[in-house]
C-alpha cells in the first residue's frame, strides 16, 4: 500500500513539474547580446571634430587574438546606405585585453550626419553590426588639458546603451527595474569611471530629476548588463521615463530615454511555483498520514538501533545493582528535542519500574522537572509499581549551563551509575558530561539533534540516536498520531520525492552532459531555482 501511495505521489508531482517546465518563462533577460553593440560619440576635446566608435568584440577575439581577422568600419550618410569602408582595426586596439574595440574617424566634417556599422569576416561568414546613427561630430571648444593617452577609452565617456525599464516582476509594487548595457568606459574598467546616475521623469519630455546613482560594473557578466531597481517613491500605476548617465572624470554621457514603465503589484510570485507544488505535496502527505494515524491505521516504523539498546542497558544496571541516570538536556519544554527526550524517558522509567532498578533524573529547568515527574509517575503506574515511585527520582539542579554540567558531573562520580542516558538538546556541556560518564565506565546512550554536539556523543557514547532518529524514536514509543503521521509524511512526501526526483533528473542530466547538450542541465537547474 505504502509503495503505491508513494508511486502515485511521485507521478502526481512530476506531471505538473513537466507542465511547468513547458511554460517556464525566461527571467527578465530583455537585453539581447547582438554582436558588436556599436555606439559612437563625437570625440570630446577634439578641436578638429571627429567621431569615435566603440563596439564589443566578437567571441574569440580575446582568446585567439593573434589569428583574429580585422574589423572593417563602414560609413554612410543615410541609414539605408550605401556604406563604404573607411578603415579597419585589429584586435590590439585600444588594448588586446579589453572587451571592446574602438576606432576614431577623423575624415568627417562637423555638422554633417553619419551612420556607421562594423563588419568582420569570420571563417567565411560576414558578421555585421547594428547601424548606429545619425551622429554629427562637433568641434570641441578646447583641447584636453592632459596629453591624449594611447588608450582612447581613457579620455572619453561612452553612454550606456540599450536601456530598458520595466515593472519589477513578482513584487508588491513600488519599484521599477532598469537594465542597460554598460558603457564602454565602464567595461574597460577605466579608473576614472565614476558610476551611473539615474534620471527619472513622469513624461518623456521631462523634466528629469536624478533619483539615484550606482557604481560601475556589471550585474550579468555574460550579457555585460547592469541591473538596478529604482524604489524611490514610486507610485503604482504612474508612468515613468528614465535615462541613465555614465560618469567619467567630470564628463557625463546619457543613454537614450526609455519608457514608459508602470509599477504594479502582482498577485502571484511566478518564480515560486515549483516551491508551491512540492511544498503542497509535502504538506498534503503529512496531513494525510496524521489523519490515517488518528483513524487508528497501523503505520510501520523501522527498528532503531539505539532503542533496542535501552532494554539491554537497563538490564545491565539491574545485574550490577547500580542506578540509571537520565539527563534530558538543558533546554526548556518548548524545545521539540526535550519533548522527544521525555518520551524516551517514559520508556526507560517503565523498564526500571519492571526491573526495580534505581532511576535518577537531574534536570535544569523547573518546567521540565514537572513534566518529567508526570511521565515517570505514569510509567511506574503502568508497570504496576506505583509504590516504587517518589518525587525524588526527578530533581532540579540549576538553570546555568556549566553549573548544571558540574552538578551532574559530581553526582555521576559519586553514585557511579551503570547506565547514563543523554536525550534532548545539548550544547557545549555535552562533552563534559560524556567524558565523566565514560571515566566511570558507564554504558552511555545519547540522542540529540544538535549538529555540533553529535560528533562528541558518537565518539564518547555506546549508542547515539542521530538527529531525526531521536524524533523517530519518540514517535515510535509514544504512538502519538501527530508524531507518527508527521514522520510518515516526511518520509513519503519529502525524502522519497527527493530521492526519486534526484534519481530521475541525475540520469537526465548525465545524458545531457555526455551528449554535450547544455540546455538539458540548464533547464533542470532552472526548474529548481529558488526565487
Amino acid at each position: 500500500m505504502g509503495k503505491k501511495v508513494a508511486l502515485g505521489i511521485c507521478i502526481i508531482i512530476i506531471l505538473p513539474l513537466l507542465i511547468w517546465l513547458v511554460y517556464l518563462k525566461p527571467g527578465p533577460s530583455s537585453v539581447s547580446y547582438p554582436p558588436y553593440d556599436l555606439t559612437a560619440i563625437s570625440t570630446p576635446f577634439d578641436t578638429a571634430g571627429s567621431v569615435t566608435l566603440n563596439w564589443f568584440c566578437l567571441e574569440g577575439d580575446n582568446d585567439s587574438a593573434a589569428t583574429f581577422p580585422n574589423y572593417n568600419i563602414l560609413r554612410s550618410q543615410a541609414p539605408e546606405g550605401p556604406f563604404e569602408g573607411i578603415g579597419s582595426v585589429g584586435f590590439e586596439y585600444p588594448r588586446a585585453t579589453d572587451i571592446s574595440r574602438q576606432y576614431r574617424d577623423t575624415a568627417v566634417v562637423a555638422g554633417f550626419s553619419y551612420y556607421y556599422k562594423i563588419s568582420c569576416d569570420l571563417q567565411g561568414e560576414t558578421i555585421e553590426s547594428n547601424i548606429f546613427g545619425p551622429i554629427s561630430p562637433v568641434m570641441a571648444a578646447e583641447a584636453a588639458k592632459v596629453e591624449v593617452p594611447v588608450d582612447k577609452s581613457d579620455i572619453m565617456v561612452f553612454p550606456p546603451t540599450q536601456l530598458r525599464v520595466f515593472d519589477t516582476p513578482n513584487d508588491a509594487g513600488g519599484s521599477i527595474t532598469l537594465e542597460w548595457k554598460v558603457s564602454a568606459s565602464d567595461a574597460a574598467k577605466s579608473l576614472l569611471f565614476n558610476g551611473y546616475d539615474i534620471y527619472r521623469s513622469t513624461s518623456a519630455e521631462g523634466p528629469f530629476e536624478k533619483v539615484g546613482e550606482t557604481t560601475g560594473g556589471v550585474s550579468d557578466v555574460d550579457r555585460q548588463v547592469k541591473t538596478l531597481r529604482d524604489g524611490k517613491d514610486i507610485i503604482n500605476g504612474q508612468e515613468y521615463y528614465y535615462y541613465v548617465a555614465a560618469k567619467w572624470d567630470g564628463q557625463e554621457a546619457n543613454s537614450e530615454i526609455a519608457g514608459p514603465a508602470v509599477s504594479r503589484q502582482q498577485w502571484f510570485h511566478t518564480g515560486r511555483g515549483v516551491s508551491l507544488v512540492l511544498l503542497g505535496i509535502l504538506i498534503g502527505s503529512i496531513l494525510y498520514f496524521i489523519n490515517r494515524a488518528k483513524a487508528g491505521k497501523e503505520l510501520f516504523i523501522r527498528k532503531i538501533a539505539g532503542l533496542e539498546a535501552v532494554d539491554e542497558a537497563v538490564g545491565r544496571a539491574t545485574e550490577m545493582g547500580r542506578a540509571i541516570f537520565y539527563v534530558p538536556g538543558i533546554q526548556d519544554m518548548n524545545n521539540m528535542q526535550t519533548i522527544a527526550g521525555l518520551t524516551i524517558l517514559g520508556r526507560v522509567a517503565k523498564l526500571t519500574a519492571e526491573y526495580e532498578t534505581k532511576l535518577e533524573v537531574p534536570v535544569s529547568r523547573s518546567l521540565v522537572m514537572v513534566a518529567a515527574r508526570e511521565i515517570v509517575k505514569e510509567a511506574y503506574l503502568n508497570a504496576g509499581r506505583p509504590d516504587y515511585y517518589n518525587d525524588d527520582i526527578v530533581y532540579y539542579l540549576t538553570d546555568d549551563q556549566f553549573g548544571y554540567a558540574a552538578g551532574v558531573d559530581g553526582l555521576v562520580i559519586r553514585k557511579k551509575p551503570a547506565t547514563v542516558f543523554y536525550q534532548g538538546a545539548f550544547f557545549a556541556e555535552s562533552l563534559i558530561l560524556a567524558e565523566t560518564g565514560n571515566s566511570i565506565g558507564a554504558i552511555q546512550i545519547a540522542g540529540t539533534a544538535m549538529p555540533a554536539q553529535l560528533p562528541f556523543f558518537v565518539a564518547a557514547c555506546d549508542y547515539t540516536l542521530i538527529g531525526e532518529e531521536l524524533f523517530a524514536a519518540s514517535a515510535y514509543l509514544s504512538r502519538e498520531p501527530k508524531l507518527l503521521g508527521s514522520l510518515k509524511g516526511q518520509d513519503l512526501g519529502g525524502k522519497l520525492i527527493f530521492l526519486s526526483l534526484a534519481l530521475i533528473f541525475v540520469i537526465i542530466a548525465t545524458i545531457g552532459a555526455f551528449s554535450q547538450n547544455a540546455v538539458i542541465s540548464d533547464t533542470i537547474q532552472r526548474m529548481f531555482n529558488v526565487n
Binding site: T215, G217, G231, A452, D462
Partner: protein, 305 residues
C-alpha cells in the same frame, strides 16, 4: 605493563589541563612563520570582494559576541582594512546585541591615526574617531562607513530589511541621528540595494539565516566568516552557490589575512593552533591505546557494531 596503562588511563584530568595550557602558551612566545595555503572557499570570498566595483556598499553583519572574538575579530579587522583600501563602503549592523560593539572595536583597532588630529585639505582638522586611516587610505564616518547598531528579532530582522531598510535600522550609533542624514545611506531602501553582505557569524542568528533570507529571498550575495564550529554546516551552501565564500575559524582568518595582505593575529596564532591539534590527536591516540590495552581485563563491553 598493564599497570602502566591503567595508571595512564586514570590520570587526573588537571594534568591534561596543564599539558594543553603549556602546549598553547609556549608557541605564543615563538613567532614562527608557517606556510598558509589558501583553500578554495576563502579564495571564492576574496574573488567576490575583488569583483565588487569601487564605492559598492557592503552590509557587514556582526553576529557574534566576545566568546568568539579570537576567531572572528581578526577576520573583521582584515575585512575592514580591505574595504578601506579598496574604496568599498560598509554599513555595520548586528543581529546579536554584542555585534555592533565588536564592529566598533575592529574599526578602532585598524585605525592607524591613533585618534590624533589629521590635517586634510591644508587646514581642516578632524578628530580621529570620525576618520579611519589605513596606510594611505582613509574612510569617513557617515560617508564610507557607519554603524547602525543592533536590532532584535533574529531572522525576522533580515526579512524586514528586505522590504524596508530604514524602518529596520532607523538611526546610527555614533551620533544617534536618523540614518538618512548620512550620505552613505543614499540609494539604500531595502536589502536588495546592497551589493554584498559580509556576515561574521558565531551561531543563531547567523549565516544560515542570512542565506535563507538575504540570498534566497532577496538575492544579495552573502560571504560568511564563521567560527570553526559553524563552518562545516555552511559548506553545503557554498556548493550550491548560496554562499559566496566561507572563512572557517582561525585558519580561514589566516588565509584571508594572507590574501588581503595584512598578516595579523590569525596568522600569528596558527603556531599555537597547530600545536593544539597535534596534542589533541596525541591525546586521542594515547587514550585509545591505553583503553584497548586494558580492556580485556575489565568488564567494560566496549566493542559493538
Amino acid at each position: 605493563m598493564d599497570k602502566f596503562w591503567e595508571r595512564l588511563l586514570t590520570i587526573d584530568r588537571r594534568v591534561i589541563f596543564v599539558v594543553i595550557f603549556l602546549a598553547l602558551s609556549v608557541p605564543i612566545f615563538l613567532q614562527i612563520g608557517l606556510p598558509i595555503p589558501v583553500t578554495r572557499e576563502v579564495q571564492v570570498l576574496y574573488d567576490s570582494l575583488e569583483d565588487l566595483p569601487r564605492d559598492s556598499k557592503i552590509l557587514v553583519s556582526c553576529d557574534f559576541d566576545p566568546g568568539s572574538e579570537p576567531e572572528l575579530q581578526p577576520m573583521a579587522e582584515a575585512a575592514f582594512k580591505y574595504f578601506v583600501e579598496n574604496d568599498l563602503r560598509f554599513i555595520v549592523i548586528g543581529l546579536w546585541p554584542q555585534g555592533p560593539i565588536q564592529g566598533n572595536r575592529a574599526i578602532e583597532d585598524i585605525d592607524e591615526s591613533d585618534d590624533e588630529y589629521i590635517v586634510k585639505d591644508g587646514d581642516t582638522l578632524y578628530f580621529g574617531a570620525d576618520l579611519v586611516v589605513v596606510g594611505n587610505d582613509t574612510a569617513w564616518y557617515g560617508i564610507d562607513f557607519i554603524n547602525l547598531g543592533f536590532q532584535v528579532g533574529q531572522e525576522l530582522v533580515i526579512q524586514r530589511m528586505g522590504t524596508s531598510f530604514e524602518a529596520t535600522f532607523p538611526s546610527d550609533r555614533r551620533f544617534g541621528r536618523p540614518q538618512k542624514e548620512f550620505p552613505i545611506m543614499d540609494g539604500i531602501y531595502r536589502l536588495a540595494d546592497f551589493d554584498f553582505v559580509f556576515n561574521l557569524s558565531a551561531g543563531y542568528p547567523g549565516t544560515v539565516e542570512w542565506v535563507q533570507f538575504a540570498v534566497d529571498r532577496f538575492h544579495v550575495p552573502v560571504g560568511a566568516a564563521n567560527t570553526a564550529v559553524q563552518a562545516p554546516l555552511a559548506y553545503p551552501y557554498l556548493d550550491t552557490g548560496q554562499l559566496s565564500g566561507i572563512l572557517g575559524g582561525m585558519k580561514g582568518g589566516a588565509e584571508f589575512e594572507k590574501l588581503v595582505g595584512h598578516q595579523a593575529r590569525a596568522t600569528m596564532f596558527m603556531t599555537s593552533q597547530t600545536m593544539a591539534h597535534i596534542f589533541v590527536m596525541l591525546f586521542i591516540i594515547v587514550g585509545n591505546i591505553a583503553f584497548f590495552a586494558t580492556m580485556k581485563k575489565s568488564d567494560r563491553r566496549g566493542i559493538r557494531e
